[in-house]
Each structure stands twice: as C-alpha cells, then as structure tokens.
Amino acid sequence: MKHSRLPFMITMLVMVFLYLPIIILIVNSFNESRFGGVFTGFSWKWYQQLFEERAMWSALKKSLIIGVSATFASTILGTMAALALYRFKSKLQKVHYGLIYSPLIIPDILMGIALLLFFVLLNIQLGLFTIFIAHTTFCLSYVTMVVLARLQNFDHNVIEAAQDLGANAWEVFRRVLIPLLAPGIVAGALLAFTLSIDDFVITFFVAGKGATTLPIYVYSMIKFGSTPIINALSFILLVITFIVIWATQTLLKEKH
C-alpha cells in the first residue's frame, strides 16, 4: 500500500522547527557582528569575552558545587528508594511510590514556591544550602525512576544462580546486584546532574540574594540587556549536554 507523504513532510518540518533556532544561535556565536541579522565574519571574540567574564565563572562554580552535591545525595537516596520499591510490595511502598512520583508531574513553580514558604516559615537562611535541598528533592524522583527501570529489566536467574552457588544475602547484594545495577545508577546520576545544572525556576525561588547559579546568571543576561556572549555560552552548554546524553545512551544500551 502506498503511504501518505503528509506525516513524513510534517515530521521533517518539525525537525526544522526544533533545530532552526539552535543552529542560528550557534552560527551567531561565531558572528563578528553584534546583531544576528547579517554574518559579517568569523570571530572567536564572544568566546574570549565569555572567558574573561568573572561573574560567569563564579556562577559556574556555584552551579557545580550544587550539581555535584545534589547528584551525590539524590543518587544514594534514589537508589535505595528504587531497591525498596522493587523488592517490597507493601502498603508503605504504595505511599512511597506516590511520594516519589508526585514531584515529577507538578509544575516547577509550585515546587519552588512550596519550598520557599517552608524555608521562610522555619527561618532558614536562603542560599546555596536551600538550593541543594531543593535540587536533591526533585532529582531524587528522577534517579529512582531510572534505577527502577533498570531493575525491572533485570535477569533474576543471575541472583538465583549466585544463591545456588552459596552466596549469602550481602554477597548477592554487593557482588551481583550493585555491579549489574551500576549503569542504571550512573545514568540516573548523569540525569540528576544535568537537571540540577539546568534548573532555573525552582532555584530562582529558593536562592535568595547572592546565590547566583549559572541559569540565574543566564536568565539575568537574557532579561536585562543580552550580549552575544550568551550565544557562546549556549553553544558550550549544548556541547556538554550532547556529551552527557551520548554517555547516558551508551550506558543504558549495553543492557542487552
């Protein structure tokens, strides 16, 4: 049967729609002209200016501190949560699953304001610490889902075999389960890290004054007088994202 060409054409248009603004952004990051309209010549000057920007480095440092610590905390909590959800089928786990699932579907702004009000009520000083708490909270759910998906695709015979060969519960856990689960845990951690590094809305609410992370810095550049150095910064961030996605895809693929 002959297929209609329409779905194909719309798909290609959607691809153009998805990539056109990004491609123009990349081209402009090498454009000598200050305005994107005309390409007046190739230049590295926006990259040079970006590297000389001290505020950007300070924001990057804060983002990395939060990203690493929130990834560490959420990976540990999320892996334990996934093991609990997978292994036990009690009423407690039903409530546990609900708690893990809900942060994934509520709009960011609700989570941001809820945490802000909570910190204000408890008189907790806003800053890097409150951002860490907020990031760990939303990353936890994503890590749990990724590790749980890995557990659900898991060949149970391996554990049975280990037990038949005389391994005790701890040995099974330490020498079979954790190594098999490692790609899932690493993929979860990478996802948590990208989410933390990229989060703007929730961070903006709980940051208070002075705790300028990279997205908050980018936001204020976009909002108040943008210079082409954001194009340069955007391209660098895109490249980093591609590397992380590629690494995650590779890790998740080798399960077969």
Binding site: P7, M15, F35, L83, L92, D108, I109, A114, F118, K223
Partner: protein, 294 residues
C-alpha cells in the same frame, strides 16, 4: 509464577525506605501542604505572615483581573496543547511506521533539544524573533511582514515558544502508543473503502487514545504552570498565573496572595492528573482481570 528470590531481608525494608520517604515527606509533602495553609494567613509588614487566620486572601481572588488572568492562562495552555498534539500526531504516526534505524535517529533528535538548557532554547527564539534577527529580516525581505510589526512580546510569541518547548512531551507518549498500534487495521479499513483521513481519525486516533490523553496532560500541566516563557517572550499583556505567583512572591512579597494563587494553580493541575491516575489504575485492573482469566 515462581516466587521472586529474596535478595534483601524483610526487616531491611524500613531502613532503605526511610531515607527517601523521610526526605520527600519533609521537603515535598509538608511544603506542599504549607502552600494551602499560608493562603489563610494574614500578611505582615515585613513580607512574612502574622499569626491568626483569615479568609481575606482567598476572597481577594474573586477579582476581575484574576479572572482574566486565569482565562488567559487556560486559553494559552489549551492552544499550546492543541498545537503540540496537531504536530505530535503525524510525527508519532510517522515514527511508528519508519524503519528502526531512521526511527532511533529521529527519536534521538527529538530528545536532544528536550534535554538541552531550557533557558537557552528560549533565548534562541528570542534572538531569532528579534527585530534585528534573521527570521524578521527574511520576513521583511519577502514583504510578509511590515518592518514595524513586532514578532516578540505578544501572545503569538508565547504560544510559539510554549509549543516548541512542550512538543517533545507530546510526541513521546503518542509515539509510544503508536508503536504498539496494529497498522494493518488502517489498511483493512481502507480496503473496505474508508478514505485515508477517515481511517486515521476513526481507527488510528481511538487506537492510541491512552497515549493521546497522556500527551495532553504532559503538555497541558507544564503549560499552565509556565512562568519563564511568558516572562521572557511575552509582554505585560500576556502574563500567566505563573508570572503573577512569581511577582507576588519575589517583588511584592505578599506570600499569602502567592499561596492562594498557587493553590488555585494546583487545583487546575490536579484535575487532569487525577484523570490519568484513574485511567492507569483502570487499565491495570483490566490487565489483572485478563491475567487471572488465563
């Protein structure tokens, strides 16, 4: 079925459940409940809340300005959902029918922008639509728009960027459902004399109904709560409820007002999410019933 091998002892359950359970209880559940509580608290002069309870804040929501804000938010979210699904349906259909290698390449291409920085994608559109930007100049060159027509800071720009941002949330569930759809049904319908469009609407769309509803919720929920997009590419005439919440919190420092608006937003979001939950539990029940009959 053979009983699952127990690799963790029963008494361990509480130790591995408690850390994440406790964390989310303290930093997610309690703060969410606090939002509803603060809406009933009087505001003090220092941007905090006073002891005592009041209905004034909730009653102040019954204001014409809030009404238009809410209508605008729902209307823009509705249009975003319709626009995203109108594109996601043919894309999902095409992905499900394409060859595996092309399909995984296209899927990756859809996921990549979805993982890249949200702010940067908005910025890309902002510079794209900018008066000195490429797109505007192309349009002016072909006399499609007047040089004075602004492409930015209007509801059209908000809608465009929202569709751009949330489109992958629409494509992925539709593709997931379409990849399980039996395409012979469409051929059968066409052999029996149905037109292609008729078969698409009457066979394909009902066949992927669950994916379609998931896609709707996945697009609608973040769209209703959108704040950064109307803030950066919309004008003051295109504010959504998210902007008002941020303004009341970060600029006016009226936390009870912000809470009341957030509670309203939460209610708007809970309805479609409840729909999905009911649907999922129903299909799970059906699966279980089918299983027990075997």
């Amino acid at each position: 079925m053979k009983e699952r091998i127990k690799f963790l002892k029963d008494r361990i359950e509480i130790y591995i459940t408690l850390p994440s359970f406790g964390w989310l209880f303290v930093f997610f559940l309690i703060p969410t409940l606090v939002v509803f509580g603060i809406a009933f608290k009087p505001v003090n002069a220092y941007g905090g809340v006073k002891p005592g309870w009041t209905f004034d804040t909730i009653l102040s929501l019954a204001d014409f300005n809030y009404f238009t804000l809410m209508v605008r938010t729902l209307w823009l979210s509705f249009l975003t959902t319709v626009g995203s699904l109108a594109l996601a349906l043919p894309v999902g259909y095409y992905l499900a029918r394409s060859k595996p290698r092309l399909r995984s390449l296209l899927l990756l291409m859809i996921i990549v922008p979805f993982w890249s920085s949200f702010l940067i994608r908005i910025f890309a559109w902002k510079s794209f639509l900018h008066p000195e930007g490429t797109f505007k100049q192309v349009l002016v060159f072909f006399h499609l728009v007047n040089a004075e027509t602004p492409l930015l800071y209007n509801s059209g720009a908000v809608l465009l960027v929202m569709i751009y941002t949330y489109l992958p949330f629409g494509i992925l569930p539709i593709y997931a459902a379409a990849s399980k759809f039996n395409f012979h049904l469409i051929e059968a319908a066409m052999d029996l004399g149905a037109t292609r469009l008729y078969a698409f609407c009457k066979i394909f769309i009902p066949g992927i109904r669950k994916g379609l509803i998931t896609a709707m919720v996945m697009v609608f929920v973040p769209a209703v709560g959108a704040y950064v997009i109307p803030d950066l590419v919309g004008g003051t005439q295109n504010e959504m409820i998210g902007n008002k919440i941020a303004q009341r919190t970060l600029i006016d420092r009226n936390l009870p007002q912000a809470s009341a608006l957030s509670a309203l937003l939460a209610l708007v979001v809970i309805v479609p999410m409840g729909m999905i939950a009911i649907m999922q539990s129903r299909s799970k029940k059906l699966k279980l019933e089918a299983h027990s009959k075997e």
